[in-house]
């Protein structure tokens, strides 16, 4: 619940101004707490009150503050202090480090919403035609001379609302447990995905190679083909083994259909990567008719965006893999704007990397057979994540079954 402390001074008792202000707060849908009250010692001495006003949302709070302001309440929150960045990519001393929660900064007597909020960044204020705007900026994006918020004066962070009791996510809580009714969790996710669609928000899928190893690739492929995913984040491995599966029917040399190891199968993913490298990109391999199935094929043919971020242990890598981590992070950053639901399945590092970029308002589900993955994700600040400890094949199979219009082809 957003709140702000205001001061009210003057002959506020005799004039009934205090009563009026408190009445207005309640009438407009807010709540108050009188933190301090000092009665004037004599008739001519003014009285002083300090009132904390809270409201269900920022809009209501602003409305209340405006209404009470006409009757003399003064906002005590100071202005944010702005200091120019000393160099490209260097923040001024004492810069305000962001959380992933909805944030406002007070500049020019106005609370500005911070755009593109993500944790562990700075807040940059820009003036366009004299009007200030605030945006969240990662350290390396900041240019010399840009105005950066320093200290926490004039910064307001709004905790994530408690979800309504009938909200699909509410029953899950936010701890990690293996003891959850899994089909019910999947039903909740399906509901959340439908809601995101209705609200025009994007659905993000973050996946690891275990999806391919466990033979769940065709479920994800079908979900993508049905148009349920807007953007896929993964590493070299998921794409490489998916393509290996499409070309050779194996994942890390193990036949997906039978579960038996193929002779020299361990080379298959290298040969798959090499073949795509020869085409120059996954798209060209698809367009040439060389790659005809799989998750990556589905992404290309349905125009589903994907970001493949490289790592130091990658084979190849595939030509689509972005090997500069800062560049990869920036590319992911572009795609997280407008995401309403994030599904993180069978990957620790990509889940944490994505979690770092997401605002806390994004409904985030982390599915892994290891509870530790979810714990790591939450320990690194993605507190909004709900954990489902289960095998990714079960999860994707159930998700494909419950989502409308998904046709799984084995």
């Amino acid at each position: 619940m957003p709140s702000e402390i205001v001061r009210l001074d003057g002959h506020i008792i005799d004039s009934l101004t205090l009563s009026k202000v408190l009445d207005i707060i309640l009438k407009e849908g807010g709540e108050y707490r009188v933190l301090r009250f000092q009665m004037g010692a004599t008739r001519s001495d003014p009285s002083h009150a300090e009132i904390e006003i809270s409201a269900p949302d920022n809009e209501t709070l602003e409305r209340i503050l405006h209404a009470t302001g006409q009757h003399g309440t003064e906002r005590t929150a100071g202005e944010a202090r702005l200091v120019p960045a000393p160099k490209d990519g260097v923040l001024p001393e004492g810069f305000y480090a962001t959380t992933n929660l909805e944030t406002h900064v007070r500049v020019g007597n106005e609370w500005l919403p911070v755009q593109f909020i993500e944790m562990d960044c700075a807040i940059v204020i820009e003036y366009k035609e004299g009007k200030p705007t605030a945006r969240c900026a990662p350290m390396h994006h900041v240019r010399e001379g840009e105005l950066v918020v320093v200290g926490d004066t004039g910064v307001r962070v709004t905790p994530v609302e408690r979800r309504e009791p009938d909200d699909v996510f509410s029953f899950m809580g936010s701890d990690v447990s293996t003891e959850r009714p899994k089909e019910r969790v999947v039903a909740a996710i399906v509901h959340a995905m439908k809601e995101a669609r209705q609200e025009g928000k994007k659905i993000l899928f973050v996946g690891g190679p275990a999806i391919i190893h466990t033979g769940a690739g065709h479920y994800l492929e079908a979900i993508i083909r049905a148009g349920w995913i807007d953007v896929l984040f993964a590493g070299n491995a998921l794409a490489a083994h998916d393509i290996e599966g499409a070309l050779f029917g194996t994942s890390l040399g193990v036949e997906i259909a039978t579960g038996t190891a193929m002779p020299h199968g361990h080379e298959n993913h290298l040969r798959a990567i090499n073949a795509i490298r020869a085409y120059g990109s996954i798209r060209r391999a698809v367009e040439a008719g060389f790659l005809r199935s799989g998750i990556m094929h589905a992404c290309i043919t349905t125009n589903t965006a994907y970001v493949l971020a490289g790592s130091i242990r990658d084979d190849g890598p595939l030509p689509d893999v972005i090997t500069d981590v800062v560049e990869a992070q920036d590319k992911m950053r572009q795609h997280v704007h407008g995401v309403g639901v994030a599904l993180m399945v069978a990957t620790t590092l990509h889940s944490v990397a994505t979690g770092n970029l997401l605002p806390a308002s994004v409904r985030t589900l982390c599915v892994d057979s290891d509870p530790d993955t979810v714990i790591k994700l939450m320990d690194r600040g993605t507190h909004q994540a709900f954990g489902l400890v289960t095998d990714c094949e079960f999860f994707l199979k159930e998700l494909a079954a419950q989502l409308p219009n998904v046709k799984v082809v084995k």
Partner: protein, 269 residues
């Protein structure tokens, strides 16, 4: 203790450039402009009552052509014990009056004090003494922040009253201090809280709507003499029953700009 009974001097502005050239209250209509010679006669009649019948010293400030509303000297500021608390008008149309009033106050030995930035204050239009209490209106023209400034500057208690009807945009259009604990007022011009404050603090004479529309409350009170717009028999009767001597003046041409006797008169304490 300064009370309205001690007033011996006032400031007026002869209506040489008085006109309705813009509309900043519901009374003003540019197509219904005042008759200038009639306005001059009405102003002169008021001047004569104040100067001759009541015997006040009436100071005059000339009206510059770019300030058609400057005849309403009550909005110049609030004068108290050698201090002139200068106005800061809400509407830009009236802001050009301020330097002329400032100069006059300075030349007459007043310590001129200006309101804090971004805090509107329209002088005696919105701040009237009832005994030793300053009663101040807000929301339509003056901001409530000016009330705190009045308290801090003068060290006096200020009762803040919210005005809710655009037609009674200044406190002096709907609230008339008569004695230390007696006021006349038009209740509908105030919000519920203000009405309670007025009833809790003062003995009251309610003014009816038809007389409030004639600006009955916009009267100059000097001791037990009251100069009020004509056509207000109910209030006149109530005042006479309490021993007040009433002088009725025709104010038709000034009502066209939303002003009457009190608006045309700044009390100099």
């Amino acid at each position: 203790m300064t009370t309205p009974t001690t007033i011996r001097q006032v400031l007026m502005c002869p209506p040489t450039a008085y006109d309705v050239c813009y509309e900043i209250n519901p009374w003003m209509h540019v197509e219904n402009r005042p008759d200038r010679s009639l306005a001059a006669k009405q102003w002169d009649a008021l001047y004569q009552v104040l100067a001759t019948r009541i015997g006040l010293t009436v100071h005059l400030i000339p009206q510059p052509p770019e300030c058609p509303d400057m005849v309403f000297t009550a909005n110049a500021g609030l004068v108290y014990e050698g201090k002139a608390l200068l106005s800061q008008f809400r509407h830009p149309q009236r802001q050009p009056e301020v330097p002329y009033f400032r100069t006059w106050f300075e030349q007459h030995g007043y310590q001129v004090i200006t309101p804090p930035p971004n805090c509107h204050f329209e002088g005696e239009g919105d701040a009237l003494f009832v005994g030793d209490v300053l009663v101040a209106g807000y929301l339509k023209r003056s901001d409530i922040c000016s009330h705190r400034w009045l308290t801090d500057t003068l060290g006096l208690p200020v009762l803040s009253l919210e005005l809710v009807d655009d037609r009674w945009y200044h406190l002096d259009t709907c609230f008339l201090p008569l004695e230390a604990h007696l006021v006349a007022y038009y209740p509908e011009a105030f919000d519920d809280y203000a009405r309670i404050v007025i009833e809790n603090n003062f003995e009251t004479i309610p003014v009816r709507e038809e007389e409030a529309l004639r600006f009955a409350c916009n009267a100059v009170v000097i001791g037990h003499q009251v100069v009020l717009p004509n056509g207000c028999p109910q209030l006149t009767d109530a005042l006479q029953q309490r021993g007040f001597v009433c002088y009725a003046v025709e104010m038709s041409e000034f009502l066209k700009a939303g002003g009457a006797a009190k608006c045309l008169t700044l009390l100099l304490r």
